[in-house]
Symmetry: D2
Subunit: 301 residues, 4 copies
């Protein structure tokens, strides 16, 4: 805000998957020195082609970095890569800013922050939403937990990755908000799925019904974006049931830990588990529709 | 569409309550002859002041009408006023178009259509959403069930009442879509309420969390419109729990009749009933938040 | 109690189905004059063979009776047979004791009692549990609502039909207790079904697991009687899902009317509806197991 | 079976709490040499008074033992005491039989069994039900997972502790069955609680209603044992909500791990969490009734 030039930083980027690769490339594009590491080599080579640098180990990536970003699948990988014996905290210089952008439990985020404090390393949790497309186009939403000063320092970097960047509270709060996002999205999809089966069973014209529903208080981003998937029973992901199932585990665990009681959340978590058990794990989460169809005596197409 | 002048009709308007009064006035404003009837007299007088005419009975209102519109609280009133001994169908001329704009069960809508057919009267079910404000400003959404030709004839009238007017299927389909609307809205509010308690219990900053949630896939009209009510615990209606409870009864009954299985819908109906049992019936439906707070061990403010 | 001889009564028995036929025969056996009526003729003929008398109409059956017992499928039949133009109340003599032993809503029971009062006819609601076997062997449980004096008068008759006969409150209370019975049974079956799938998925030895479960606080009549059905996937009724689905409608409606909030009841009602939608309506209610299997990704045998 | 004398063993008993103390005493009484260890000293002294021996550490207790029994509060304690650096497996002699009688997750039971195999130590999981009274009177139900030969060897010891002793499958199966027990018990209590509020709201006579319900298919050990607690609103434990809440966490986690979908189980876990959040954690689990009362608009006494 007001600065014409973003300061160039040396960033270690660990985890170059579907999300991490385009994010790292966007940081290169923004003028940063990005040192990438990944369990398998090809994504690292692609980062080098895009102007980044390669590191053979977490230790090598982290050694000279001002900032370390991790973007990994789930809690076990983050725990190992950040807290493990040859992990980020073991090799980061004091004062380094470590930003975990993976989606993990708030508990893991807090554990990392506490371990960082012991090592003199600053930590932010900064999970994202917006999917692969959001990562490629640098229009992610980024929910950040941690100290305000660290957030301020990281904000220019986040600006290269997303358009909505919000500091939502202390360590873990970013993950909490991400979990709340996944909770609302899952329930809203399931609500839409129940409405679709309800409408079809009663003989309403579904496309025109969804049109009018979308224009009123029942309207939602889920309805706008998932309507066609449901109308056409085209459940190519998008965001897979398998991943949302993982996230519902984070939601229900975190709710249990804090004493928040979530009747719809818990029931939706079961319906997500049923979708997965029914073989729909690789489909887009809008395929929760198939579960309502099964419950209502239909064989999903 | 393309006609520069809307044909003036003689419309009997029965039920001049919070919704019916401004709707009737809007029809007067659009150039129609509106003959109003209401159980109590004052709203009729106000319609006369606005340029309408008064009728002392349903029979008198209906006698000379081309079109009859009913806008009544619930199934029992509609059944009595339309199907009763001194009701609409008993006195309407053959060929009259009867439009029930109340929110009732699809079953009642179908029963009226069948009774109308026996009398040579055409029937549409055309419930609305958008509330009192939508009625006053003529920006309602109108969901219409019935024959296409009747819909086409009624469309200019609907145009004086709302901005989204959609023919959604055969007799009863309007009510089905309205019920689906109430289903989605209730579930989406409950989802938001669970997320709010989840976020607060975990110590996230609620205003900024809701800001970022609103910008992503968790965004919804419910979130946009009910966010402040939840942040400020200000549950002045709006749309009352008592009414939404009535509507959830329609949803669950209609689902049962067609074999649609709605796990979240049924559970949300219980939570709506709990809100009412807890004394929150007169509050806005965003007060479902108070139920989640009670479940989570808090005494709602 | 204390009376060595039960007074012989003239009883009109209307509804000679699976339950009504053996019940009427047991009343004959106990020394009563039983005048039977049924929509179809063959069961009436069988009653005559068993020592009863035949009536061609409700009016004829009721005309000379001291006591009228109705045993019919559901609310619409009871409403028509008891309250209809050529029904029981239209033809019963003042002072007659009318006992509805069908399973209907408490609301219907209260409506009959009120209509009876207007005609000078006394009414009891007295639904039963115990199934066909219980009816044949005269070991039914009978839950009776109405005035204590009428219950006292009817008790000897009930003694010819069942072994557990309890006055549970005012008009409608018998049906309320029957509904509560169906609520508990449905939930307990669903609980057992979830436990069975849980145990099998985890690789426990199901027969020995159910043995130990049955001996502790998890033990129940449902577990004792339905265990083999679940172990062998042998869902020959017994009590059909279709009937239990009807009863769950009574439960949820009655709960709604009184403001009792039943989260498990409502969810179980949906799962019962799902069983029916999935084609399991004709199976025993222990076939709720098949629904849990479907949810858990198995194709039920 | 067939042996007139049970062989005397040297048993290390770790965890002399409410359950462990009387169990250890019963093993002394059966003629075994019992070496007790507990975090706090007084229970150890009481065991010595009862004829046992004292050990100051896990290592000391385990050193000379043929059999090690652990009876601890939850997963973290079991993990530390059995798998920790100065724990059971670190000090047990090869060939020792380690029996964990705590209630923990099946996952923990399997982890212990695998660690034991690496050390040449045999392991059984053998959680119990029956509560403090069952422990004192040696009438526990014991559900045992592990190898058949090890079960056979342990059976005489179990015979000194309980009356129903069943081998229910491989490692972890004992805990799975215990979890299934807690699932059924929680759901059956919640079902009864919903029925009680339903009956009271409708004006039925509760004591007579519960009497008749207990005699039919709705009968259960829960109904028999918890009826008075509910009738009198006397929720002195018994088994505390806090503990059942812990167990519902085990159930939902284990179900998630195996792909068993438990809609009633998950919802009941939320209602148990709500009971705890509402301050009912120290009450008997029959206090789930208070949650249904709150949902139904009553202030529990």
């Amino acid at each position: 805000m007001g600065t014409s030039a973003v300061q160039s930083r040396t960033i270690a980027f660990i985890g170059l998957g579907i999300m991490g690769s385009p994010m790292a490339a966007n940081l290169v594009r923004a003028g940063h020195t990005v040192v990438g590491h990944n369990r398998s080599r090809p994504p690292v080579d692609r980062l080098v082609e895009a102007g980044g640098r390669a590191a053979d180990s977490v230790a090598a990536a982290v050694a000279e970095a001002d900032v370390v970003i991790t973007m990994l699948p789930a809690d076990p990988q983050v725990t190992e890569v950040v807290l493990g014996e040859s992990g980020v905290l073991a090799h980061a210089r004091p004062g380094t800013l470590v930003i975990d952008m993976s989606s993990v439990s708030p508990r893991t985020a807090v554990a990392i922050a506490e371990a960082g404090r012991d090592k003199g390393v600053r930590v932010l949790d900064a999970p994202v939403s917006g999917g692969e497309a959001g990562a490629v186009e640098a229009v992610l939403s980024i929910m950040v937990g941690g100290d305000a000063a660290d957030f301020a320092e990281a904000e220019p970097l986040f600006g290269a990755l997303g358009t909505t960047v919000v500091h939502v509270g202390p360590h873990g709060a970013g993950q909490t908000v991400k979990a709340a996002n996944q909770l609302i999205v899952a329930v809203n999809i399931q609500a839409l799925a129940e409405a679709v089966v309800f409408l079809e069973k009663a003989g309403a014209d579904l496309p025109s019904a969804l049109e009018v529903l979308g224009g009123g208080l029942a309207g939602s981003t889920v309805l706008a974006r998932k309507k066609d998937a449901m109308l056409n029973r085209d459940f190519k992901p998008g965001f897979r049931i398998d991943l949302h199932h993982k996230d519902m585990g984070i939601v229900t665990d975190a709710a249990r830990a804090t004493g928040a009681v979530l009747p719809l959340g818990a029931l939706t978590a079961q319906l997500m588990a049923a979708a997965r058990a029914g073989g729909d794990g690789p489909l887009d989460h809008s395929a929760l529709l198939r579960g309502v169809e099964r419950l209502s005596g239909r064989t999903p197409e």
